[in-house]
Each structure stands twice: as structure tokens, then as C-alpha cells.
Subunit: 359 residues, 4 copies
């Protein structure tokens, strides 16, 4: 109820403040007997971690995950999987001047009003450092789903005004991992990097759009009425820090088309039902139809800018601040594994739920 | 778990198929002692019901709600509120030819694969007729929230390519109810209506965008990390039939701005903390900050078009269909009260949750 | 959260006040394709209904169930199953004198304090009439479990001081249905009936113990740590009106034995693992081991006695009352199908949950 | 859903295997601003820990709790409270011979069948060592409830056949902590200790009954219909290892009384409503009435006896075993703080839930 758990069957409960002892979580409901490939999990964490390139935060963290329970001789036991990632590079001192100040577009003000108390160091619980727990759970969900051939890949589609045009089928998504901005098109990637570097040098920040594609999902995932698969994916994405929008399939664009242009006609090929087009984005009536699921996630610019800003403190007094600390000029590239992780958790959860309907 | 319940504390469980006996639900968790203004609830249902204008479905339904429990001498008891709306105009015959056919971009195919059985009449459970239950629960949530001055108003911002430009603060939202398309600008409304009528006459359909504005929300609603207020609103909206996208505040647009342009600086006026701008859309770190909450919801065109379409039947054979029945050329105007209802349910639910944090 | 729902996957949400329009519920999570034998369900309701014998309440109710959704051509659709039983014989007049009075050992006082409002007619929501919804859901669970050979039978083991001695394996439980008190031993049954009649004539009431036996449960049902199968059964039983105690297997008696006397040693017979004794009651570590599950449920005497009692009214004034109305001198025989129903719901729920663990 | 979480609002998710790295949990939903008295929490853990007397297991554990998140400058933040207790004295070697054997009345067999894999060392997840997490969460719940004057005290009422006769009001419950068996009567305590020592020396074990008394509970806690306060307490207790029975108020005894003997008549004294007797045990209709809540919990003898036993191994072969290891001859005295902890969690959870109903 307090919002720190995600999932119905495969369920992550996460914990941790940015400058506390550790970030971690408990995964309950993971089926027994799953082989836990720790190298894979650590590699996923490395895709998310700060300091991985010159366009990300220089905060230094190993982000090494320790599993504390639920795994025995390399396999899951069916019992809760608890894990922890220690917070190494806690420069809390950077934050002491911000103790009483409400940083613009940060959660400082609302946390203080909601709880009457807050950990001001690095945003406390509201820090995106919390997403580490999501990547661990997401990596485990990926390991589970791989057994069934489900593929989940995200990439950066837009940074500021630099945009990759075209449908996901037009490029090789896997190429996204070949550059630091995680865009599958090398040239656009260069432009994106240049854009981020320019803003970084200005002490400013920018946002972007991530597209995620899920292939080989079984037909029938998603629960009507309120737990439609894209509603669950939408909530998952909107719960990630800095996300402001979500659209499935044609999304906002579908508004300008006619029904006759947008309907996906069914056809059967080699005994398999497909649709001629896939404007629906692989989900109809909230349930997966076996076509690729794809959706876009919009990230606003990072709120921590180095430029001076006007705000108030907790006495209501006007004050000018300049945020120091080691912030990302753009979090979007590092958010790619987070988006994939949340997608993996949703798909695995509904995969397990659908077992209940099976004979 | 099967997706027919919504809300943590204030919780609707809905039931009913389009051509079954009735649509209805149970609302659990409504505080005791709330006066139930049935005239208001019925008026909300009338805003949603078919046949209200020449741009909506001609299906004839009184949509009269009957309360079966939970209300005593005009007030809620704190016990479950059960209600029902009978399905009067069930022309199931219209659907008999579609018994074995998968209508394009409908849920026929996925329901059959998921459950191994389906009620083909009017889409069964996947019909938007289910949203009646949401409007009843939403109307009760509105009655509750009114006591605290919370105002929830939605309007049509775009139909096909006809767009209302400008921020919500630029027009009088309440004027939306003065025309059948529910757009606050009279002239744009006329263009929208003309657009819908043209498509209707072609046997085609269109989508649109609804904007919803919530004013006077208390500070502190929303639960980090996974149940951020906008994530909950997003899921609520994405669970509505035909919705393909959701964005809060500046949404997808925030991508093209710099952090320095988008940050909302705090200021204090008359002892009240506000932000100079409201690009965040009234929510920061997932928690309401007291500023107006506003968001956009994208609806795709109705999938039931009168034009001939190619599809397959459940034997995998190619077939051509032409959908008869009484369908809306555009559901967006009728969806305005549905969007408001889902918003009201989310806000009330988090209002009650926040009581737990209070002293 | 407000306590009107039961079950994780197979989930009943019930509604209704004793003297309101109807009692009913929504069952969500019932797998699709289950044949609904309405004759069986109605027969289960008849086992519970008042007026079935001269030792039960003379309230006249048909208790005919109407299904409103979720069933199509005799089978479940996988969508919510809504149902209703109208309240026919509402003699609310009987209660008008009790409007402001707190009946001893009834819920009048606590409901008024909890909610600030109450439906005083027949106890409102606190009436055992609510258990009708449990019997409908339980009957559906039985239909589901029958497919897998699971058998659930309860019987009356004690009424007041009249006791059936011996283990459940010593008698033919099915014989319980051959007499109005539902005790499998004809002679003890006669003594029990005589005991109830005597108290009825005195205007007094009595309680008793029901034993329930579940046979042929698959191995592996129940979830450690908090949702142990017997903890779930215990909660289910303790939620029935007038229940004051629950014990599984040897229960309270196990206290007086040594570990060496009570341990159930495993053995293998014909390739099947069993235990030589079954003091555990078919559950070990919270998980079914394939042996018969058996447990006892203690019911206190009905609180509505015809003898004069002293109490207070809502002004705090002392007053004497004499409860009229059509009350049972002993509810235990009518509670047999309720106990079975709750057991069936728990077993089915965990049966479905266990599918998630399956390959 | 996998059974490792407890509570609606104040919610513990626990983790850990007996011989894994650590036992711990996450508490979500604890209100912000609560002072965390670590000395008190550690003292509660010491009441539970092994090795505290010659009638408990000699396993040596400091059971020192480390808090990892959710606490800042000594107060709760409103964010998840994660904690861990390292497993120090892991003599896993003791268990290697039991790797393939199903110990009688243990969970070895059912875990293997349920999950297809198990951690055989010390029972893995099924070990009562898991209850450490409950004591930490329970201690925090006690700290919260103390602010409102709620008192929760349990004591040993029976060990084997040695029984403390009389109602809880007849003795000074606090005296229970003055002896190692935790019985408030010094003489009976001596008899209990002698009984345990005798069985210990025989290599045998015994069970017992704990009574728990909750005083000063506010009126109105508990949710009808399925989440009655005693049903929640019952489930909480039945989820503790080795518990076989639960009864509230007069419990099983109420069966032999008449309604006229058992009803609790209301009276008003000094403006406060009380009942003349308290056979109901402080709960009516599932809701607290302000009188002391009391209930009994029955524990079976510990299954780990030193005497030789016959059983089978996972190949189905008959085998004789003798359980070594450091087991308690009787866990009942150590279970006293566990019972109190579960009670505290239930009461706090419903205390918070009831805030939702408040104005």
C-alpha cells in the first residue's frame, strides 16, 4: 500500500535511500529451479550504473549485487530472493547546504509535506538510485523469460530534438548497445551524444524518448478490465523517475488516423495467426496477440542543473541555489536497462498469472 | 488478480458483459456517512450513455442505476455498495454472423485464445459498455472529493486533426459541457463535430485526445516508488477501452526542452507554496504538490467501422466482414466522464491512503 | 482492504445487508470453461437456508440464486461471476424497537462506533445472512475441485455437551446429511436434536463443533511463511459468524502428547508416500502432504436469545430487552455447508496458486 | 501471493533460510516520524533467541539486528525499513546426513514436492529461525502502539499436562518474564520447567499453550466480513511454526454454555461503555469493543526429537534416523515474544486501516 512493491505474482519490494547503507529488495514469487546467472545480472547493472561514459554521472559505484537468500547451489528455491547493493560513494556533504531548500522540480518539498520528515541527502528515497533494485529483478525476469524465447530490447529514439525516424522494424535494435547513447543508428547516435555534451557543458540537461520492443510474447497475457497488459506496462514505465509519458503501438499518433487506416487485419500464415499491420502494438483489448509489443517512454530533462535557480527554503524564504554533485546531463541512455527491466517484470508477472488460466 | 478490481482502499470490482443481464459492480472501502446524491450519479451516467446526440451510437439504454446494498437512509454505511445497470437494448442478433470471426483490432481473437471460450455478442466483457461501472464509482468518488473542494474536469482537446491549441488555463473548461463534442471552444467544437459527421457518413471512425484537469488536490497524495500518483493515473487511463497514450504535465513535449526551461521554481505567496510554472503537472516525485494536475489521454479511432474489412475466422479461413450494429463514429466525447471518473477514483483512493500517514 | 473480499486468485467480494434488497457477490478469478451446475449450487444453498427444519429459524427465504454475468451457455467465461439472492422475508418491523439498543454479544455497538452509522435491521451487514454469498462461491469451488477428485465434507461433532467421540475415519461422514442436525451417528444425532429442542423451548441457544474433512488434496498446496494452508483455513473459518476457535489435526490436544507420540512417520506404499499416522491433519510446514486434511471449528451459542437481558441504549441508559424475531436456537447444523464452502474456496485458491509453481 | 508478506498497510515481507547468509525483511507502511528505540528491539530479539536458558536450544546466535534503510536520525522516514540478522552459528554439517531424508512431521517432504528443490540445511525456509523477522516488525509495532497506550502481553498457560488454571485477570501477567518458562505463577513455572527438563533428558519434546492479552485497544478495529479482527489474529498465530490451534475469548469452551450464560451484557460506567463479562474476548462481530482481547494459541511438541524414528528417503526407501543438532525440547517459552509480535502487527495494521474510516 505504501508503494514500494510491484507485481502480482512475481513481486519486487524495494528499499533504500540514495545515501543510506544500501539499495536492495526482496523478490517474492519467482518460480523454483531457475538458474541464476550472476554474470548476466551484474552486466545488466553495469548498463545502468553511473560513471560508464562521459555523458553520465561521474558518481563511482561498483553496484555489485549480493544475494542474501532464496538461491541454493545456483538455483532459485521458490523462497524470497533478497539482495543488496551497498552505496559506496556517499558524498553526503554535497547535500548539506540543500538540507532546508526545496530544489525545483525535485521531490524535496512534497516528501517533507507528505511525511513531515525527509532524508535530504541526494534525494533520499526519491533518488533514481532506487532503480538498481528494478534492474536486479528485471534481470531475473529476463533469465526466466529467455527460457521461453521472449526477447526484450529497448533503445534511445530521441534526445532533445535529435530523433531517430522510422519504425523499430527498420533498424537492428541490438546495435543500440554499440554506442554510449544506446541508439541503434550510428550517425544519429553521434548527434545525440553531441547534443548531450553541449548541454552538459552549459550546465544544463535534456530528456528523450526510449522505445522498447518485446518479441515472442505468448498470446493471451494481460487481464481485462483494469489490468490490461499495456496499462500495466504504462504504470511500470510511469513509475520510473523523470518519465512523463507513455504510448503503446501508434500511441498519440493514432489520433490523426481513421479507423479504416489503423485497424490491424488478421491473416493466417503457416498455421499462425498474425496481423497484416501492427498499429495496436501487439496488444488488443489489453491482451497480447502474439505480435511484437512496442511502446515509447518520454523522459523529461534531469531536474538537477548546474545553472543558478530561484526557489524557497522550508521557512518559505526565497533563495538562490546552484546544484553541485555528480549529476547526469541526460539519464536517458542509462534508463534503457531500467525500461527493459520493468517490461520484463510485467511480462513475467502476466506470464505466471496466465498459468492459472491454463488447463 | 483477474483484473476486474481497481483501487487500493476505495476499490471497485466490476462485472458484466455487453449483452448479458446487467453491468455493475461492488465498491468496497467507501467511508461511511457519505450522502449519496442519486440525481448527480444518474446525470454522470447520462453524460456517458449512448444515443445522447447524433454523433454517438444510437443504442438505446436508460442506463438507470439501481443500488442494491451499502446505502441506508441516503447515506453510505461503510459496507460494500453494490449496484447494477440492466442491459435493455440487447440486439444480440446483430452479432450472430460474427460468432466465429475475429474483427480487426477487436479483442475477439485474444479472448478466445486466452480463455478458450468467449461471449461473442457485442464483444462480451471487452465491450466499452463495462465503463458504466466506472462512471458510477467515479461519481461517488466525486461526491466524496467535493466535500474537500477537489474539482475534476475533462474536455476534448483534439478530434482527428482538429486541435484546441493552448494550455488549460487559457479557456473555461466548464464550457465543454455546452456542446455535444465536449470542447470548451465553440468554434473548434463545430469543426470537431463536422469532422466526426463526415467520417460517420463515410462509415469510418476517428480518435482524439482528452485533457483532464484536477484542481485543489491536497499536497502529499501518491506513494513512492511504484505507486506514484501519475503512474496510478496513467494505469487508470490506459485501462479505458481504445486508449493508446498518456502524458502528465508537459508529457512528450518535455523531451525537446532543457532542464533550465522546464524546472518549476518554487515561490511562496500569502503563506502558500506554489510553483511559478507548472510543467510538472501538479506532481513531483510521484506526489501531488498542490498545483493543478493535468494530463492528456489519447484515444484511437473506434475499431468497429462500417467499411468492408478482410480478416479470418476461427478456422483460420480468410473472410470479408462488414460490421453492422450501432457504433459510435467517435467515442471521445462520451469518454470525457469516463476519464473524469477514473481520475476521481485514483484521487479519492490516494486521499484515503494518505490518511494513514496523518497523525 | 475493507474486509469484504476473500481469496488471492479465486476471489469472492460479497455484499448485502440482512434486510436490504439482496445478498450477493462477485467471484473473480474462476477459470474459464467450468460447467456451472445450477441445481447443485441451489442444493447447497438449501442446506444453508432457514426454515429447513424445526430446529432452525422459521424465516422464510427461497434463497434462489440469480447469476448476472460471467456464465455463457452454461460455462464460465473467465470473467467475473456476479450473483444475487433477493431478501424476500424482510420483517424489518421486528427490529424497530432495537433501533437504539445494543444487543448483548451482537455487533450493534461496535458497528455504530466504527462507522458512526448502522443499519439496525436484523444486524445489517453483520448478519449471518451474508454467508449465502460464501455458499454460492463455495459451491462453484466444489464444482471445480470435483474435477480433480477433491472431496470436502463437514459434519456436526458436538452440540452443547453432546459429543461424537472418535476420529473421522471411524464413521461414514456422508451419513451426516441423513438427519437435520448433520451428525453422522444416528443416536448421537437424536441426543443433539433433543438438546437443541430443549433450549429452544427455554428461549435459549447453544453452540457446537463442526469437523471438516478434505480428502484427495494434491500435495504442495499452501504458501510459506504467512499463508500456510492451515492459517488460511483458520482465517476462513474464524471469519464465519459465531466462530470462536479453530484447530487443525490434533489441535489443542497435541499439547498433552510428547513429540515421539505425535510425529507422523513417512512410509511408501504402492509408490505413494503416506504417513503412518495423521496427527498433522494433512498439512506440514503449512503445505498439504496428501493425507486427509481435517480440522475443528467451534461455534458459540447464538447471541439472540428470547430471555430478557439487560443492556444499554445509544444514550448510555440501562434498558431491558427481549429479542423477538425468527432466530435459530442453534446455527451449527446450518453452518455445515458454510464451513465446507469456505474450505472449498481456500483449497481451490491454493490449487490455482500452485499452478504458478508448475512447469 | 507466495506467502512471505503479512499485513495490509503495515506490511512485513520476510526472507531468509536457516543456514543462509541472513534472516531479515522489509517493513513497508510504517508511518513516518516514529522513534526507533533499538535497545527495545534488541531486547525483544533476546527474549526469542536460542541459548537463553537451559530449556532452550544451545544454538549460539547474537541475533543482532542491522537496519539498512528507512530510518534517519533515529526516526522512521515513511520509506521501507529493511533489516537483517546474520546467521552466525551455521553448523550445516549436522544436516548433511539428512539431505535426502524426510524427517517426520517436518516440511522436508512437502517442500521437495512443492518446489522440486529444497535447502535441506536446518529446514531452510521452513525453520522457525524465520520468526526473527516477525519479532523485529512486532517490536516496531509495539513502539508505535505504546504511543496510544496499547499493551500486549503473552505468557505460557500450559506445558504438556502442566496447566495454569484461571482467567488472565487472576494473575499478574508481567511476572511471566521473571522465570525462564514465562509463566506468571512461580510454582506452576517450576513444574513446567521440571516437565521440560525431564523430556529433554529423554530426548523427547513437548508443546504447550500461550495466552496473549491485549489491553487498551481502541474500539472499532477489525474489518467485516472476511477480515474480522480475530480472524486476522487467528491467521497470524496459525502461521507461526508448530501452532495447531487458536481460540478467542471463551473459545472451544463456549460450546458447552448456553447463550444466556455467555452473552456479555453492556453497561456504562463513568461515561465509558463496557461489558459486565468478557466471554467475547474483546471482539464482537469481528470488531474490537474496547474490552481486553485475549486468545489462546496451541503449540504441538517440537518435531525434532533425539529418539530414533522410522521414515523414508527421497528414493522411497525406508530408513531409520536420529536427529542431532541443537533443538529445543520445548519452543513455547521462546514463542511468547513471537505471539506478541504477530499480535502487535495485526493490531497496528488495523489501527492504521481504521484511520481511513476516521473523519
Amino acid at each position: 500500500m505504501a508503494g514500494n512493491s510491484f507485481g502480482h505474482i512475481f513481486r519486487l519490494t524495494s528499499f533504500g535511500e540514495s545515501h543510506g547503507v544500501a539499495i536492495g529488495g526482496i523478490i517474492d514469487g519467482c518460480p523454483a529451479g531457475l538458474e541464476i546467472n550472476q554474470t548476466f545480472i551484474q552486466a545488466e547493472l553495469s548498463r545502468r550504473k553511473p560513471g560508464q561514459s562521459n555523458i553520465s554521472s561521474p558518481r563511482k559505484e561498483d553496484d555489485a549485487v549480493e544475494f542474501v537468500s532464496g538461491i541454493f547451489e545456483g538455483k532459485t528455491l521458490g523462497t524470497p530472493i533478497a539482495f543488496m547493493i551497498k552505496n559506496a560513494d556517499q558524498k553526503s556533504g554535497d547535500y548539506s547546504k540543500l538540507k532546508d531548500v526545496y530544489r525545483p522540480s525535485h521531490a524535496d518539498f512534497v516528501y517533507e509535506k507528505k511525511y513531515g520528515i525527509r532524508d535530504h541527502r541526494g534525494g533520499g528515497r526519491s533518488s533514481a538510485r532506487e532503480t538498481i533494485a528494478r534492474v536486479v529483478a528485471g534481470a531475473i525476469a529476463k533469465l526466466y523469460l529467455m527460457q521461453y524465447g521472449v526477447q526484450i530490447n529497448a533503445f534511445v529514439k530521441q534526445i532533445g530534438t535529435v530523433k531517430l525516424i522510422g519504425e523499430h522494424t527498420a533498424f537492428d535494435i541490438k546495435m543500440a548497445e554499440s554506442n554510449i547513447v544506446r541508439c541503434p543508428d550510428k550517425d544519429i547516435a553521434q548527434q545525440m551524444i553531441a547534443h548531450i555534451e553541449k548541454l552538459r557543458d552549459e550546465g544544463d540537461t535534456c530528456g528523450g524518448i526510449i522505445q522498447c520492443v518485446i518479441e515472442n510474447t505468448p498470446i493471451g497475457l494481460g487481464e481485462p478490465v483494469f489490468d490490461k497488459l499495456h496499462a500495466e506496462l504504462g504504470k511500470a514505465m510511469l513509475s520510473i523517475n523523470a518519465v512523463k509519458g507513455f504510448e503503446i503501438g501508434n500511441g498519440f499518433d493514432s489520433v490523426i488516423y481513421k479507423g479504416s487506416q489503423l485497424n490491424d487485419e488478421f491473416e493466417q500464415k503457416d498455421g499462425k495467426v498474425t496481423t497484416r499491420t501492427n498499429h495496436s502494438g501487439g496488444i488488443q483489448g489489453g491482451i497480447s496477440n502474439g505480435m511484437p509489443i512496442y511502446f515509447n517512454v518520454a523522459f523529461k530533462p534531469v531536474a538537477s542543473i548546474k545553472k543558478p535557480q530561484t526557489t524557497i527554503n522550508n521557512a518559505g524564504e526565497k533563495t538562490e541555489i546552484q546544484i553541485e554533485g555528480r549529476h547526469d546531463p541526460c539519464v536517458v541512455p542509462r534508463a534503457v536497462p531500467i525500461v527493459e527491466s520493468m517490461a520484463a517484470m510485467v511480462i513475467m508477472d502476466h506470464f505466471l498469472l496466465q498459468k492459472v488460466n491454463s488447463k
